[in-house]
Each structure stands twice: as C-alpha cells, then as structure tokens.
Symmetry: C2
Subunit: 602 residues, 2 copies
C-alpha cells in the first residue's frame, strides 16, 4: 500500500477548495507578516547580538520551516512567483549560514554556539526535521535541489554526531519530528541511510533513562519505555503523536511487526480512551500532555492544534499498515472538527488550544484552571501551530487516496471535490470526485484507467451501506476501464454519547451532522449554555448562517427559568426556545462567548 | 433580643450529646497532643532561638487560644480538673511573658521583636482577638480573672496604638476577628471603650486603600469599600464572615441601620449566590476566597471549616437583628453538613477544606485543580480549623435560643435534647427539649416559668406546619406557667435542586433527609459515582450503617453498562442496582474514596 501524495490531486470546489483558497489568499501572508514582525525571519541573518530586540528562539527554525513548507505546497499546486521568490531568499540565507559540517540552527549558532547538541530539551533535532520536510516540499514543488542538498548534508552530520561519533550529550530527540522527516528524506533521495538513522532514534528511545527538563519525567518525552513496549499514550501529546507517526513509518518500511503492534495499541489507547470527540488530544496544560484514560475535561481541554495534526499524520501512516477505515474515520473527525477549529473563518488567526467549552464569566476567577485562550491569535510566543495549520490545509489531499499496486486496489478515504491522476501498474489512472461533502452526502466518483478495484470508505455515521460494507469499513467496487460510482451517505443529525467513565459528560450529548460536530454558542442561544436541554424528540432543521457563512442546526430546546433561589426543593420550570447550533469549527468568530459542545438533553 | 448562652443549657442525649462527648473524650486531647508535638505550646516559653526546631509562627497564638477556649467551654459544662490545670499552666506562661505595655505575641516578641504592628498581613490582631475570646471563656467557666485582666490590658494597648497614638503601620486588621472579640469583652467587663474600639475598626476599614500582601487585592481583606457600602461577599472567606459577624454585633449594639442593611445584603449575597448546599463557603483555593455569583465547583470547593463556622457565627448575630428563620435555617444547614463533615467520626482528625466531590483517579493528573485533601488530618501547618471545630461543638447550644425580654418571647431556633434555664423578666424559666432530631422529627418542648410566648422555628424542609407558620418562619405558642408543646416535623427524603446558573450541577440533585444532606460514596455504590442515576420514582429506604454508626438512605438507581467504545451513536444501556447514601458529614471515614453530593436522576 502506498500514499498518493497531494501533488497528484487538484481540489476544485467545495469545503476544502475554500479553505485552500483562504490559506493561499490570506493565511500564508498573515503568518509571514507576524513572523516578520517578531524577528523570526531576520534571525536567519545571523547578526543578532545581546541587547538587540527579537532574541532568536530555539523554536524559530521550525516555524520558518513550516512556513516554507506551506508555501511550497501552495506553489506545488499553482504557481506563486512572489512566494517562490520569498522562499528562495530564505533558502539562500539558510544555505549561506549553514556550517561547513552541515549543522544549521539560527538559535544555537548565534546565541549559544558552544552548546550544539548538548541539551535534549532544546529542539535542535525537531527544527532539523522540519527543515528537512520543508526542503523536500520545496524540491517537489520547484525541482530546485539546493535546499534539499543542504539539509541532506545536515542529516549526514546528524548521523555522524548521533551514530558514528556518538558525540552528542543525549541519544534521542527531546521533541520528536526528525524520525518521520528522515523517512521522507530516504524516499526522496533513495538513500536508505536516512531510514536507518530514523530507525536508530526509534530503537534507542527508552532504552536508558533520558529526560530533558528537570521538571519533566521520562514519559513526558515518551522515553519511559522502549518504543515497542509502549502501550499507552503518555506525555507531551505533540511529541507523542509525531513519534508514533515515525514509528508507523519505520514499521511500514521494515515490516517491523513489533513496532506495528505498538502503533496499533497506542492508536487504540488514544482514540478509545484519551481523545476528545472533536479529535483533539492532550487533556491538560500541565506538560501539554495526555493524562489518564477517560479524563477529558471540556473547559480545560488543552487539545493543541499541532497535536490534532500529529494524530492525523499518525493515522495516515496507519492506513498503509492495514486496511481498516478507523484510521480514515479519525482523520475525518479531526479535519472537520478539532483541527478546523484552529483557524478563524477569515484565515488570519489561530488557536493553540481548542477547548470544548468556554464560560467567560469564570475565566477571571479560575485563571489557573481555565487556561485555554478563548480567542484566536495571529501569532504566539511559541507559534508552532499557525504554519502547521497552513501546511496541513495546503496538503490536505494527502489524506484522500492510497493504492495497493499489487492487487490494483485504490482506496478512497476522504471525500473532496477533486481530480486526481497517478500511475498504477504502469498506466495512468484518473479519479474525479464530485461532491459537496460534508454538507451533502452525495459523492460521485468517476474513474478512468485500466480495470481495478475501488474501495470507498463508508463514514461511521452512515448506515445506508451497512449491507455491502466489508468488515474493514470499505465498500469494494470493481471498475472497468471507465466507471462511475455514485453514493449518497445521507447524513442526518446524530447524537453522540460518551463512555460513562468520562467525567463531566453525564447526561450530555454532542450533536453531529455527518462528520461535523456542532456546538451551541452564546450569540445564537439563551444563557447559560450549559443548561440548554435539546429536545431530542423534535426535528433538527438544517439551515445556514449568512454572516458566518456556515451551516446551522436549529432545534427546540429548553432552559430553566430560574426562580431566584439558590437551592430549592422543586425543579425550576422549563421554558422552550429555539436553540441554534453552529459547526464547532466556527466557534469563537464573534468575540469571547459562552460555548459548549456537550449539551444536556430533555 | 438577646442570646441565651450555651452555659445555660445542658445537652443530655442524642446527636449533639454524642458529638460533645467525642470532643470531651477524644478531640480536645488529640488536638492538644498534636499542638504539643509541633511546638505550639512550647512557643509560650519564649525561649526559641534561630536554629532550633519548631520556629514559632504568626498563627500559633490563635491556635492555642482556640484550644483554651474549647477547654473552657468543656469545663464550663462539667468539671475537668486535669484540663483546668493544663489551661492554668498555659495562662501563667502567657501572663508571665506579656509585655508591660500589655502586648502579647509569641511569634513577634520572640522572632521579630521590632516588628510589632508593622505588617497588616501578619495576624497580630487576629491572635489578640482569639486570646480575648479565650480569656472571656475561661473567666466565664471558672471565675478566674487573671487571663481576662491580662487580655484587657492587651486590648487597652491596642486602643492606644490604633486609636490614641495611631502608631501602628496599618489601620485595620489584615485578618478580622478582634472586632467580635472586643464586643464580647465589652459585654463581660461592662466597659464600652471596647465596643468603641471594635466600631473604630469597622468604621475605618475600606476608607483608604489598605492591602497587606503584595499579591492580594484590597478585596481579599474586605478593604475595597467602607463596610457599610459592601454588597457582595469578597475575598478570603474566613476573614469576610468574621468581619460580618463583628459588623452585625456593632449594628446590634449601636442600632446602626446602615450597618445592619449591609449585613443583610451580604448575608443574602452569600446564602443566595455563593454558598454550597452544605453551607460551605469559599469557592476557590486561590486566596481561600469567594469568587463570583453561582460559581460553586464541587471538586475544587475550598469550603474551609473555619468559614462555615464563621458563617454560623454571623447568622447567629443576625438572629438578634430580626426575627427571620432564614438565619437559623442556615445555621442548621451548616451544623449538620458542611461543618459536621470537618471532623472524623472518631473525633481525631479534621478537614480544612470540605469538598463536595472526590474522584481519586484524577487527583494525581490534576494536582493543581483537585487541591482539597481527600482525607482528614490530625494537624495542619496552618491548623486553625481543629480547635475552631472543638470550641464550636463545645458551645453549640449557643445557637438554640434567643429571648426578647420586653415582649417575653423565647425563640427556639435549633432542636437538641436538652435542659435550659435562664432569667426572663426577673423570673427563672426552664425549657426541656426531648428529641432525637435530626434522625427523628418529633420535638417535645416542656416549659416552666411565668407566661410567655414561645416561637419555634419550622425547618425549611418541613411542610406540616405551613398553615400556622408565620411569615418569619416561626410558629408562636402562648405558654402559661407550665406548658408542653409537641411537634413532629415529619422529615422525608427531599431532592434539592440548584439554580440553573450554578455551573456543573445541571441535571443533578442533592438528596436530603430533614436537615441532613446525603452523599454517595464508593464503598456503598457502583463506580463511577458521578454516573449514578437515582430513580426518583422508587422509594428511599431509611436504614443504618452499623460500622459507621450513621443513618443511611438506600434507593434504586441506575448506572450505564459501558459498551467499551469511547464515543457511540447510541446510549449505553442502563442497569439498576441499590444505591446507598450516607450523610455527607460521614464521608471520608473509610479511606480515599470516590464521593459526590450532587447526583444524576433518571
């Protein structure tokens, strides 16, 4: 099984075309401007001195790299001469300041030149990984090799320091990322050494005690056990899922069954015990971490945007290891919910955390507890999320197809109005999807090419195809040289219930329409939002909010008409009103407002 | 209206006789031993030097004072020669080390002798207040004047420093307490100067900006506004209610209507907006403070034992200002619930915080959030609560009666099996209550004395006397020279609902029987406790737990039989079981267990 990369697909209209247009027209520039304001790009001039503003930061190379990667994906899809010129200038600076040995880091070389690879917690290999991914993306987009060659030299140097000489002060990265980047580098260069280096980092992790910060345990860095022995998702959630993605890559490349088993177990632990209904992960801001099974508090959800992205990257790699729709189901849950909430509808600002509930009146009094920002920002001190979001949207078609060349099976995982061409067994195939998914459940897939099997994922909320759906969650169609498959998943409003072991969701439901989870927000409803009781016996009416430009669901609901007394021996009377729900991804676009995903029912 | 002090009453049997016996037999000794272990009593030797263990602490005089006060109340009720000898020794030390000017503080005089009355946040006047209360209690119990005279000299010195010379570095106490103590001192000495000094502190507070700690706002110390302008309960909750008790005293003594109005407004704000159903107050550990209206989180409830005590002391003073049963209703709510939970059933250990919910599995992962200790302790670093609890139980009969001499009305506020004698209009009256309250609703009140009116409070959960109950919540009986009043309040199980504006209690009820609020605790039930749904259509069965020696309520309940999937499109099936509830005051006597007051219903 192999991935069909986004470069083979052109998204033509609908939900994702609009989001990609937003990134192209607004976000890429907005993120660039904020990064410029904060000195991130000028750090590449390597001329910062003590006392000057904008002291370089250990994360900044990764921010720049993800911005370049985003730009590369946009350029790959359609020419952007201005953007390409900007990237070329940045790449020139990177190459100009790269050390002869191959090392490059705009923080360490300028601020602490004697500290290279001495501190595990300081993100050098994380930055290197993102630079490698950016270089590959730019090479794929433009054919220009200079950046890729430079980053290949850096990878060679890393191999020397960590494997040949063993001269680094630590053995494995404090923040994973390079593992998956090196797999990509091996693919693009055909050089297996990079695959071995990636495997080295995975094999080495957790073999001996390695920490990184005084305050953090080994599990914060997923170093509490050898990777193949890990069974629960622990520690910093972004680090964790980036590692698991790298583990899945290595399991796939080497046919490593022990690693594959660990990946499955970890995926199951996350998605069946430690994941928000929106696909967000990371239940606490303390360590930005996973906590324990079924601990998924709504108000204090950490659910970093990068963690959702990382979980999707992990799931995409798992798709190559086994045919099971649960991986693409989780991707779908993420991309329409906990990921999509991370960017404002205008494309300019971003969430780092994506809480499932906001009660502004309690923010001030419980500042410590109610940590998540209630409003998106254009840039953060640690601004990893914005360029991660832009690169993810720009390459979203990566999630659409995989292909099994040997058996001539094409798997269709996600539904986007698009045209895709790729080679299958020596011939070119063409797939056209016509759909208004996720607003509408109709998907028309037109195939051209030699005979093959097309496996179409049936979304978990769809019951129409239960009789023809295989155990792995796909429906298999035989396609001759030309074939049109028409499906209608017939989305309806469905209530989602959480396992009763999840604290705080007792008596509550999440409302979904197709893959999209809805929320109740203050401007459309009666306060307190937490007290709204959906009348589950009344019909939901699908509508549209013109000012937000998003679909809505309205439904009869009840709320208590408070009698005024704090405690009473009788229930306060209920009064009905029309509750209006909006997609969760659209919350917080009208100021700091009360909001909840999980609602009471009557 | 005047208070009939506990010294006029002998509690003979039942709930409070048992609790008083526990304090006499166990708690007073246990608190003494722990205070001795931690060096609190040896601090009175004034021989601590840098480098020695048990460095004296600014709170310790108040701990010792409340222990002496507790001992005095026990001695007042029945001879305790050993206890009296111990107190005499402590008093001798206090007097021996009292400065010639009258000042006494075992921390400042030993550790920082040049810092007298320089730091508002350092509890000198708070300690002084408790020493004064202890001295009065000991004088009332034994007739020995030495301690009282010494503390009177201290009060004279405080008047000199704060009023005459104005030589202190601050104007009003950082921790209120002395206000109410000075009123008692005026009463026992007949010297109005102490009343004026108390009024001075109340009149001065909030007139100009006064803080006390860098991190604390003026409202932490109730200094954000002049007392008469305060309308919401703010800041540190113990400080607040001690102040309000002092304000009510001064309002009563001076007929100060503005102050009385402020007291009513504050009482209403607390009890109708900021009080837990158990009578606990203080919604956050940050500043041990009130927060905002309707913010009453269960797990993180701070609800300090001393704050419940202070609210009861405030309510008792309000009883003298107006005939309204809501004051005694709140006292009843406190004494059978949020106060009584503060001591273990064996009388040895104590809660500082009294949470309304415990989920042990989440304690470790959310250490910051789930602050309250889940187990009572014998002593704390700041151990204000244990001796406050013992003095409160030992003098609980203070809450039973008030008398209006002019109109010859005796108000009966609380129900305890007891015998009371006091003077009314020149003659002695005798009241005998025979009752097993709160387990049973029957109360027989036998009166002997000249004709008078007896006003009996009808508890808010009782509906039997609705037709004869006056607007103020009392039923008025005319008593000739001898009269027997027999009532039966007929307690039943009642469900309590919270105002829908309280976040987190949606769909939940508290179960009560008479004045006692029940909770579900892990040893008697199925986990998770939060998921238990009481079947409100099934009968509750009143029973008894022999090992805990407390009544129980059992009822048919439901819980979800988890299907295993984290999120599902269908509800997990319900299975029924017998839920057993115990009085809230008895929780946490069987180890660290899951517990909740607020339960779901089916």
């Amino acid at each position: 099984m192999r991935l069909i990369p986004f470069g083979n697909t052109r998204i033509k209209s609908g939900f994702w075309a609009e989001k990609q247009k937003m990134v192209r027209d607004v976000s890429i520039k907005s993120v660039y401007d904020r990064f410029a304001d904060t000195g991130r790009f000028s750090a590449l001039d390597f001329n910062w001195k003590e006392g000057m503003p904008n002291r370089p930061h250990i994360f900044w190379d990764s921010d720049i790299a993800k911005w370049i990667e985003s730009a590369a994906y946009l350029i790959h899809t359609a020419p952007e001469p201005e953007l390409e010129k900007t990237v070329d200038e940045l790449v020139d600076k990177i190459i100009a300041h790269q050390d002869e040995c191959g090392y490059f880091n705009s923080y360490f070389d300028v601020v602490e030149p004697n500290e290279r690879f001495k501190r595990r917690g300081d993100h050098e290999l994380y930055c290197a990984g993102h630079l490698i991914e950016a270089a590959i993306a730019y090479y794929n987009a433009t054919g220009k090799r200079a950046f890729l060659d430079a980053m290949r030299r850096y990878a060679d140097y890393i191999e020397k320091v960590f494997v040949t000489d063993k001269s680094a002060a630590f053995q494995t990265p404090g923040h994973e990322e390079i593992e998956l980047a090196l797999v990509k580098l091996a693919d693009v260069t055909g050089d297996e050494r990079y695959l071995k280096l990636s495997k080295h980092f995975i094999d080495t992790r957790g073999q001996k005690e390695e920490r990184g910060y005084d305050w953090a345990s080994a599990s914060y860095f997923q170093s509490h056990l050898p990777c193949r022995d890990q069974t629960t998702a622990e520690g910093h959630s972004v680090r964790a899922v980036y590692l698991y993605a790298g583990m899945a890559d290595i399991a796939y490349k080497y046919g490593d069954k022990a690693l594959e088993k660990a990946c499955r177990t970890l995926f199951e632990n996350i998605t069946e015990r430690r994941m928000y209904v929106t696909g967000g992960i990371g239940s606490t801001r303390m360590g930005e971490a996973f906590t324990v099974d079924y601990d998924l508090p709504s108000i204090t959800a950490y659910t970093e945007s990068c963690a959702s992205i990382g979980l999707a990257l992990f799931a995409r790699r798992m798709q190559l290891l086994e045919s099971d729709s649960r991986y693409a189901d989780i991707v779908e849950r993420i991309i329409y919910n906990g990921f999509m909430s991370s960017v404002s509808l205008d494309g300019k600002s971003f969430f780092y955390e994506n809480p499932l509930e906001i009660i502004p009146s309690l923010l001030e009094v419980h500042g410590e507890i109610h940590y998540p920002a209630t409003q998106r920002q254009e840039v953060f001190g640690c601004s990893c999320c914005p360029p991660n979001i832009t690169r993810f949207i720009a390459s979203i078609a990566d999630f659409m197809y995989t292909a099994d060349d040997e058996n001539r099976v094409i798997y269709c995982h996600q539904f986007m109005d698009s045209e895709t061409r790729f080679e299958l067994g020596g011939g070119t195939v063409k797939l056209v999807q016509q759909t208004a998914y996720p607003s509408d459940g109709k998907v028309k897939i037109s195939y051209e090419g030699e005979a093959c099997t097309i496996a179409v994922r049936i979304p978990p909320w769809c019951t129409v195809y239960d009789s023809v759906r295989e155990d792995d969650g796909y429906v298999y169609f035989h396609a001759e040289d030309s074939e049109v498959i028409e499906l209608d998943f017939e989305p309806t409003v469905k209530l989602i219930y959480a396992d009763p072991r999840v604290t705080g969701l007792e008596g509550r439901v999440a409302v979904s329409y197709g893959p999209v989870i809805y929320c109740a927000e203050e401007p459309d409803n009666r306060l307190p939002i937490r007290d709204i009781r959906i009348d589950t016996e009344s019909p939901f009416v699908y509508g549209f909010d013109k000012s937000l430009n998003v679909p809505t669901l309205s439904v009869r609901a009840f709320r208590h008409n408070s009698g005024g007394s704090l405690y009473t021996y009788g229930k306060a009377p209920l009064e009905d009103f029309k509750a209006v729900l909006i997609p969760y991804y659209a919350f917080a676009n009208r100021g700091e407002k009360e909001m909840a995903v999980w609602l009471m029912t009557r």
